[in-house]
């Protein structure tokens, strides 16, 4: 087996109480207090105006963390292969479609329909970044972060090219929210490279494990980890924020988790 090793060159983060990676890192290493606040999603200025008008929360979230991570890694976006992973698509858009289809007039808007595909964020990212390489878009319900990370690491070690992983989730409105409660939007993006370079933050090696996933010691952060699939990344992000080498287990499927060996590089 090839060791599933990649170098983390850039991080982007957005979530409830998390405005970007540096401020979130300060909270995760306990240098600053966690203050609960709704996630603020910036307008996707990287898109041409007609596309910008059509985007929903999920696209704004994915583009924001993707741009942050690639800016921090100082890497050319157009050349990057991408892996997107999310537990669901655009929840508000899905609700609107189901509502129209349950009504007496089932005329859907074409924009609603094309925004309903699970790969909507990947489509807009490729347009915004001019990225013509492969984009893989996964869903694994609560295991979506683990599934995305495993797919991303596998691609880096097999293709030996840098890659952008984006894991993100947004909430559904009622009545779907009652059946799938996701409290707020959370997104994380990692630039992963096959070799170390100047911006490299840490070396990451993954293995499958049958032990339980690590939890967060702080109750509000553990609640976030447990309730938003993309926030299953928090134990890894905490390790990176604490600037500590060591091992962390992140959640994946009910029958298997991912053990991550983190080795600091700078």
């Amino acid at each position: 087996m090839i060791p599933l090793t990649a170098y983390i060159d850039g991080i982007g983060l957005l979530g409830p109480g998390f405005a970007d990676w540096p401020s979130a890192a300060a909270i995760l290493c306990a240098a600053a207090p966690y203050v609960a606040a709704a996630t603020v999603l910036p307008a996707p200025l990287s898109l041409p105006p007609p596309e910008r008008r059509r985007t929903g929360r999920v696209v704004k979230l994915a583009l924001a963390v993707g741009f942050e991570a690639t800016t921090r890694a100082a890497i050319e976006r157009s050349s990057l292969t991408t892996v997107f992973s999310s537990s669901g698509g655009d929840g508000f858009n899905c609700h609107e479609i189901c509502q129209v289809l349950a009504s007496s007039d089932r005329q859907l808007s074409p924009t609603r329909f094309h925004n309903s595909v699970h790969n909507v964020a990947a489509g807009y990212w490729s347009i915004a970044a001019g990225a013509t390489a492969a984009a893989n878009v996964l869903c694994a319900h609560d295991a979506s972060f683990g599934a995305g990370l495993l797919e991303a690491l596998t691609q880096v070690v097999v293709a030996r090219t840098p890659l952008l992983l984006l894991a993100y989730d947004t909430q559904y409105p009622e009545p779907l929210n009652a059946k799938r409660p996701i409290p707020d939007a959370f997104g994380v993006a990692l630039v992963l490279a096959p070799n170390a370079s100047a911006p490299t933050l840490a070396k990451l090696t993954a293995m499958l494990t049958y032990n339980d996933a690590d939890h967060m010691s702080e109750p509000p952060l553990e609640a976030m980890r447990a309730s938003i699939p993309a926030a299953r990344s928090l134990p890894l992000l905490k390790k990176l924020a604490q600037r500590e080498s060591g091992r962390v287990i992140v959640d994946y499927l009910s029958h298997v988790r991912l053990a991550l060996e983190v080795e600091l590089c700078s």
């Binding site: 090839i2 859907l108 309903s116 595909v117 790969n119 490729s126 013509t132 492969a134 799938r180």
Partner: protein, 397 residues
């Protein structure tokens, strides 16, 4: 790229339940398309509906997964000895060494569409028995297949719209190359629902007639549904000459538009080139191309430019969507199975319903079945969001 063996494969679509019926339909040039009578849908269009889906029972312990999409998956798993082949593979490699990677576009969203009609009139709540995770969520079908087949390897669902179940072949191939697993159940399951029927209609992309790929009068798609599964395995050191192999994969993004292909087929050309490079083959080594061929004006134009720019105008091509309809997230896997049958049985299926090939399109489009030695085939799948995938299959020796 390390070639992988297609140890077992099966498909259920409007042209047949299992490979024997599918092959027979291809040989008889029988279409599965009929005027849409699905649910309460009032769109004037043809669909490729699979008979017997609603009557298919799920295993007792997995009843919670009940929805049209998982019943269609179950119908697929029961064909061609597929479940038994997977059990043998899991016995050989260990259940932790067999992954599950499936594609879908709408999963069990039909359940949610129906649940919205049954909302509590006062509170607006969905019915108590509505189960989001086991039906609506895209991962539902992979979870259902994992549990049905008692597998314990990595699993995910690929959702790149109409290329979803082609891209899972590339994903599984990478996992096997990295040594994470030795085998994988790959495939796609997508079923009829209101979202896609009304959605494609809103984009004016559905035809009233059975779809006519590459025809001068083509005017849109016919939506179909399918479950198609392939057991991909690390090949043994000595290969049977009859073995069907995955030889190459290619993936690209158009970076152009959410619901229209790049007009010159830029992304499509890139994915075809990559697949040829991965397979270490030249264009002349390909005997037949199973086109994405949706029968929209823009897809067929862009694909024609992409294919002819790589292959010229001599390579035999067709779209089987005139027979099966466009199975969306299951199309890539369904057409992979058709490609495997083409190689096994030396048949290049003629495209149905196409009577006058568009004179502006230059690839060599087959309207009648052709017989011959089919050694290597290319299959194209392109999806919304500009997600392209090309796969190459061939004989083991």
């Amino acid at each position: 790229m390390i070639p992988l063996r297609l140890t077992c494969f099966t498909a259920v679509s409007a042209v047949g339940c299992g490979t024997a019926e599918t092959l027979d339909s291809l040989e008889q040039q029988r279409s599965g398309l009929a005027p849409c009578a699905f649910e309460t849908v009032d769109v004037e269009t043809h669909v490729g509906e699979v008979p017997g889906v609603d009557a298919t029972a799920l295993p007792e312990s997995l009843r919670g997964f009940s929805c049209r999409n998982n019943r269609l998956a179950q119908l697929g798993l029961m064909q061609d000895g597929f479940a038994a082949a997977v059990a043998a593979s899991a016995g050989h490699w260990g259940p932790r060494r067999v992954g599950v990677f499936l594609g879908t576009s709408t999963s069990g969203i039909l359940e949610t569409e129906l649940a919205y009609r049954a909302r509590d009139p006062a509170a607006g709540a969905l019915p108590k028995d509505f189960n989001y995770a086991a039906t609506h969520n895209s991962f539902s079908v992979a979870d259902f297949v994992l549990q049905t087949l008692h597998l314990e390897g990595p699993a995910a669902v690929m959702c790149t719209a109409c290329s979803s179940s082609a891209k899972v072949f590339a994903s599984a191939q990478r996992m096997i190359s990295a040594g994470l697993i030795d085998a994988a159940v790959v495939g796609g399951v997508d079923s009829l629902c209101l979202t896609t029927l009304y959605g494609f209609h809103s984009l004016q992309l559905t035809s009233r007639l059975p779809c006519r790929p590459f025809d001068v009068a083509r005017d849109g798609i016919s939506i179909g549904e399918a479950a198609a599964f392939v057991l991909l395995e690390r090949p043994p050191s000595r290969l049977d000459g009859d073995a069907i192999m995955l030889l190459g994969t290619g993936e690209s993004s158009d970076a152009y538009h959410m619901s229209s292909p790049h007009p010159e087929g830029r992304g499509a050309r890139a994915s075809i080139h990559q697949a040829l490079t991965a397979a270490q083959l030249a264009p002349g080594d390909i005997d037949y191309i199973n086109l994405h061929g949706t029968a929209t004006i823009s897809n067929d134009c862009a694909e024609d430019l992409a294919v002819t720019s790589v292959f010229g105008t001599g390579t035999a091509c067709s779209s089987t969507k005139g027979a099966t309809g466009h199975a969306l997230g299951a199309a890539g896997a369904l057409e992979a199975v058709i490609c495997a049958l083409a190689i096994q049985h030396g048949i290049m299926p003629g495209g149905l319903s196409t009577t006058a090939v568009d004179p502006k399109l230059n690839l060599h489009y087959l309207c009648e079945n052709r017989r011959g030695n089919v050694r290597r085939v290319l299959s194209n799948s392109f999806g919304f969001g500009g997600a392209n995938c090309s796969l190459i299959f061939g004989r083991g020796a």
